[in-house]
Amino acid sequence: MTIMQKFLGAAATMALSAGAALADPAIIFDLGGKFDKSFNEAAYNGATRWAEETGGKFAEVELQSDAQREQALRRFAEAGSNPIVMAGFAFGNALGEVAGDYPDTSFVIIDMVVDAPNVRSVVFNEHEGSYLVGYMAAQTSKTNTVGFIGGMDIPLIRKFACGYAQGAKAANPDTKVLSNMTGTTGAAWNDPVKGGELTRAQISQGADVVYAAAGGTGLGVLQTAADEGILSIGVDSNQNYLHPGKVLTSMLKRVDNAVYNAMKDGPGLETGFNVMGLANEGVGYSLDENNADLISDDLKATVDAVAAKIISGDITVHDYMSDESCPSLTF
């Protein structure tokens, strides 16, 4: 009997605390977990930055199984969380099913487009940022050979590779661009050993700058590049500090900004198609004390001029995902 009473008491407390969570934002992390040092973690950082600045609270969950995508969306929506942010293209299907059932809840999906009146779809112009770092790689390379190492072979990562190759060719038409993908499953995001092997293979083919767009696998790429004395380029977050003086730059993809903006805009956020590009600082390259010596003032001036031309539309960078083909690179 006493146990039963404790159960009921606990249940009542639970109901109360659930009530208090009304209209707080919620964020759902994909199966990789929130501390993946990459995409999910960037989303988590954006959410914590919002919480620290505003003193607000947010609900969060790390998924364990695919069936939980729809479950988490529905449960948060029913508990009154608003907006609900999800990090990753894999939510596209589940959100398409759920969004219509909760017209008063705003949803934000990153890296995927879901066409519904209460959904904000945030996509990044990764090809523009990659173009810039490709340009810098080709300008820096002494062997006229630069490398790209992708994680999972999906159109999104080919978009990175394609932008990179275009930038490299634009800087120097004779540049040879090597490209390798780590794998075809989710495991390819977290295989630093294979990342290191691919780096060595590209070095043996002459590459002296490699760009990793591969999540956790990229850590192995950066490590091997530093060990072998060539330069590397990080991705998503600023990874320059990992090997000071040995990482040329990092292609920034501000997932944290996307999450932060969504939470700051709150329940009535503007929905629709939201493109984060060079113009609104959604992508870019990183410059800090760790790579200051690697990037000459000349190079910086040239790259910033190129960036300005992309923003003004004088240079169009081809988006691989628009037609699944790339003019500068074959896969």
């Binding site: 404790k6 159960f7 606990a10 249940a11 407390t13 639970m14 659930a18 977990g33 609900a59 969060e60 969950v61 790390e62 998924l63 364990q64 199984s65 695919d66 069936a67 939980q68 729809e70 479950q71 988490a72 529905r74 449960r75 948060f76 293209f89 894999a90 596209g92 299907n93 059932d101 995927m112 072979d153 999906i154 159109p155 999104l156 075809t184 499953t185 989710g186 995902m321 699944e324």
Partner: protein, 364 residues
């Protein structure tokens, strides 16, 4: 060891194991700075306290019934089928092919066809390890484990290169057409006037799972094949002496086992996701081993063990949603239950035996 009365073996031993597992789990929850009673009530209420909770609990349980039965059938013939994971994955491929490429007029026909395809694909995937065991003596544990990896790689290839719609980033097939969608348990019960939460993944496959339980019961204890299978499991030389063909019985048993594991795909692939995704089995093949051990390889026991594990999965999901208890701790709780009810079964049994059997002797 002392012989326990049957009721103690079937009810007391698993229950004591469960209580031990939960006590230890609650200590862990307490050690990480959360309220264990809160966590426990949230898990129980989340899994069993509403039709919504049941909708998920029964969905997971349906998966575990199939994989549990698969392990149990093989176990009766002393074959340890660790390949449920791969057989269910390949069963999913069968379901996907049938649902994607044949236009079905109605879900009932699609269900029959998908069931046949799932069973057939699962059985064929078990056939090769079975043949290697029967003819070549390659140990079934090793070969079935290796076939899990081969299945994963095969699915990977097929999904990424063949079945993925153009431009899609998910390694998954397109959505199955509307007539191949199975009615959910909510839709079915609401239609006959019983209120049940909509939007939960439990579906008509639960009925198929219950039929499979009855089928396995009759197969094992009421047919000639079942008798041969159990005789073969008790003693191979005796079975061979009695005229039972070891090659035939090994292959048939493993194919039935593989078919049962494959059937799981109609629940998760056709009933829930309505498309085939990479890694759709999500460890259910391995949970089936724990379910079969806990259920003493009896369909009724498996039914209850599957329900328990289903409730654990759903309760764990609720913990993840409403508390800051990390996902890893939820997995620890699930693992402790497996440890105590499966692996440490004998420890619990000897404890129970000490309490139950000795006093009786003293009386006599």
């Amino acid at each position: 060891m002392e012989q326990l009365p049957k009721w103690a073996d079937l009810i007391v031993v698993p229950l004591v194991g469960l209580i031990l597992a939960f006590s230890l789990s609650m200590l862990m929850v307490f050690a990480t700075g959360h309220d264990p009673m809160d966590a426990l009530s949230l898990m129980v209420k989340g899994a069993l306290g509403s039709t919504y909770g049941w909708g998920y609990t029964l969905y997971y349980a349906t998966n575990f019934i199939f994989t549990g039965l698969a392990v149990a059938v093989a176990f009766h013939a002393s074959l340890f089928n660790i390949g449920g994971e791969g057989q269910a994955a390949i069963g999913g491929l069968g379901v996907a092919l049938v649902c994607l490429f044949i236009p079905w007029p109605h879900w009932t026909i699609a269900l029959v066809a998908a069931t046949a395809a799932a069973g057939l694909f699962g059985a064929l995937w078990a056939l090769i390890p079975a043949y290697l065991q029967a003819k070549r003596g390659s140990h079934i544990v090793i070969t079935t484990i290796m076939f899990n990896f081969i299945a994963a790689s095969l699915l990977n290839y097929v999904l990424v290169n063949k079945l993925r719609p153009k431009g899609s980033m998910d390694p998954a097939t397109a959505k199955f057409p509307e007539p191949a969608h199975l009615p959910s348990l909510g839709d079915m019960l609401n239609a006959v006037g019983i209120p049940f939460a909509k939007g939960t993944p439990a579906n008509v496959t639960l009925v198929v799972a219950l039929v499979a339980c009855i089928f396995v019961y009759y197969l094992i204890w009421r047919t000639r094949l079942g008798y041969q299978l159990r005789a073969f499991g008790k003693s191979q030389p005796a079975a061979v002496y009695a005229g039972i063909n070891p090659v035939k019985i090994t292959i048939i048993t493993m194919m039935i086992s593989g078919a049962l594991a494959g059937l799981m795909a109609i629940n998760n692939v056709m009933g829930e996701a309505e498309r085939l995704i990479l890694g759709s089995v999500e460890g259910a093949g391995f949970i089936g081993i724990a379910v079969a051990l806990m259920g003493r390889s009896h369909p009724l026991g498996i039914l209850f063990a599957a329900l328990l594990f289903g409730a654990l999965y759903q309760g764990g999901a609720e913990l993840g949603l409403w508390t800051s208890i990390p996902r890893e701790l939820v997995i620890v709780i699930q693992a402790l239950v497996i440890l105590f009810t499966g692996a440490l079964d004998n420890m619990v049994r000897s404890m129970v035996a000490k309490v139950l059997v000795r006093p009786k002797r003293a009386e006599a």
